[in-house]
Symmetry: C2
Subunit: 416 residues, 2 copies
């Protein structure tokens, strides 16, 4: 049996424990939702003050040059790149994940239209994050060129679904509901062997698990900075394109920030070379600047160390739930196998929504996803082992006492 | 002859003069670039602190509900609506102007494909802001359905260019270079009589001149909040669609924020009714929240009062330049006629770029646009008549002494 002292000892021995000081977390809260909105880096307050009061207020329009706003998307992309196995000049941080998916999917279909125009199927998973599927739907309906979306219900069905009709396979590396993690290298190989191109959504991977886009042979990737990267609410998303593919085609959201000579004010579009052609319009700078504060923290550690702690945290949570909550209708939906697990753990419960509300009322913040899924995110930068202990004790009490049946339901949903 | 005392008297008599206290402007600067990046409202500092430290730091994921982040795009849209003659529930503030143009242009072409599929021409102006033209190019190349862009070189050529082949006419209401303002009502009537649909870019209009989208009969409008609306650097753009058109088609950037039941997590997209279907992905909240501080200031006045002062400021500037800068190679490119003028004034000068740099070095901030155009924006919320006097005296000195020939050129361009 694991006891609380064991968890406290794990905290004492944790080499990453000091990193928690880089974050401001509220008193009385155990925050297990950093997979949805990351905690605030301490530095973000001062950085915001600087952007608002100095750069905007005093620098005014001059700050596009003097404060480096003009190439902020690229500079931040370069800082993010090492976390996902990308090179310098290969990543931009801009727009939203949905919009970046529209860009890279359009590009991938153009590339395939030149190589193998008979390929008109986009393969994905029915459990993929819905907005990714909606974007496929939006683009394919717009194109009216006979593209269709083929959805599989489990990762095991992927090999049979990827065939000579497949243009693109769009997968989220770590599933937002179950926490299932694909083997990026093996799956990309499978995709390429079938003649298709791969798009990886790294929303629940970047900053959570080691990712090596370069070595995996991936073609396109998009992802989010407001989850494990702690960039702030709704902070801009990122886009990466394999260098060999990047300059082959122009993506259709061809705004002036992607132009080769933006300030020539030419009437015709000419794309920048490299990843800058995936930029479009003027970015909300205050939000974008906050992303830097989240990325800075990662430069104090490395993804291998974070992964070790992440697995230790998720292992501990599963063990403790199974030790403390015996007899309740909890069903683990996250893989036990390390190689198939991201950094969050999900349990199904028939009253999952109510249980999560009761937990939040007790200061344990996880979240709920249809249907019946209670999600708990573990962010090795700031989650303590002893918090995992405390959270599970409270979960046990909520289930034992059925306090969830009386919980006040102020809110139905949170935004991931 | 106008003298400085006259200008000081105009300031004393200006009923809008107290509004300047709502803004934080640096000492020693005459800011004539609010048409590019609006000044910082005083309230923005405290609002940023609240979003970063309280809503993000303390509220964490709960703030999507408790701090109203979820429907912030719509609530801010409702506050902006009166400034552009739109109704409640008709405007969203989201994404960038370029991306919102992609959405409304896609929608307009879909509507026309249903009504008059032979119409395959998009009419615009060669002097339109380049990113608008780049987006037309991006979308039409993506569609591969025979659409083309027809550009006219002056507003007078518009009537002849709009014909039975025209699907959509895309115009920027106030030209970013010349300050020329279209008659929105008359031009929209012309467009409709030819069977086409209108898209109005209000980047240099919203908060600068009275706009009445409803009465003008416009079909679609987009625009910017970081210029005259003082929303902060790169703050999100807006989109408006005439209610009669809004639910006819689905725009292709169909992300989850535009879904009718976002949190059902369905695999199929079903658009919201109304303008919410023009939302796509999760918005950068810190930047979006700042927009409110700019809009609040407008609720202390009205667009008619602002227009009176704007015209008085631009009239004064033109008169003073013509009085003080006689004999220099300045050419007014902004219409003298009030009905055709926005809220900025542009002069051509063979060394326009160098002159602007020399002015900035003297604390007079205007900006430069290719070719040879010096642009000066007048924002009636905070520009003083006596500042117009001082700016013109400094311009006169720079031109007399040719100090521009020695000016240090630190920066080539600023971002509009």
């Amino acid at each position: 049996m694991i006891d609380k002292n064991h968890c406290l000892r794990l905290d004492e021995q944790d080499p990453l424990a000091p990193l928690r000081q880089q974050f401001s977390l509220p008193e009385g809260v155990i925050y297990l939702d950093g997979n949805s909105l990351g905690a605030r880096p301490v530095a973000a307050a001062e950085r915001a003050r600087q952007v608002i009061e100095q750069e905007w207020g005093e620098g005014l329009i001059r700050s596009w040059n003097t404060a480096g706003w003009r190439d902020l998307s690229q500079r931040l992309g370069d800082r993010l790149a090492p976390l996902i196995g990308a090179g310098a000049g290969e990543v931009v941080i801009t727009d939203t994940t949905s919009i970046n998916l529209f860009k890279v999917l359009s590009a991938a279909l153009q590339v395939q239209a030149g190589r193998a125009p008979q390929r008109r199927v986009i393969v994905s998973e029915s459990s993929n994050f819905p907005t990714d599927l909606y974007i496929v739907e939006g683009l394919t309906q717009l194109l009216q060129q006979g593209y269709s979306l083929r959805l599989v219900d489990s990762p095991e069905q992927l090999p049979a679904a990827i065939d000579q009709d497949t243009a693109v396979v769009l997968l989220t590396h770590v599933n937002y509901k179950t926490g299932y993690m694909h083997d990026m290298q093996a799956t990309t190989r499978l995709i390429h062997e079938a003649g298709a191109l791969s798009i990886w959504d790294l929303a629940h991977s970047a900053g959570a698990v080691p990712v090596d886009l370069g070595r995996s042979g991936a073609d396109y990737a998009i992802g989010c900075t407001y989850k494990y990267l702690n960039g702030g609410p709704g902070s801009q998303a990122f886009a990466w394109v394999a260098p060999a593919l990047c300059d082959l085609v122009t993506q259709p959201l061809s705004g002036w920030f992607g132009h080769a000579r933006q300030f020539d004010m030419a009437t015709r579009y000419e794309p920048s070379s490299g990843i800058a052609r995936y930029l479009c319009g003027t970015q909300p700078i205050t939000s974008l600047a906050m992303v830097e504060c989240g990325l800075e923290v990662f430069e104090r550690t490395d993804m291998q160390s974070l992964r070790r702690k992440s697995l230790a945290l998720t292992d501990l949570f599963i063990e403790l739930v199974e030790q403390r909550c015996v007899g309740h209708e909890l069903k683990l939906v996250t893989p036990r196998e390390h190689a198939k697990r991201g950094s969050h753990v999900s349990f199904e419960h028939p009253e999952g929504y109510a249980v999560i509300q009761a937990l939040i009322a007790r200061g344990v913040i996880g979240d709920y996803r249809e249907p019946r899924i209670m999600r708990f995110g573990f962010t090795p930068l700031y989650t303590r082992f002893s918090e995992v202990w405390d959270a599970v004790q409270i979960l046990g009490e909520v289930l034992d006492q059925k306090t969830w049946a009386q919980a006040q339901f102020q809110v139905r949903h949170s935004v991931t």
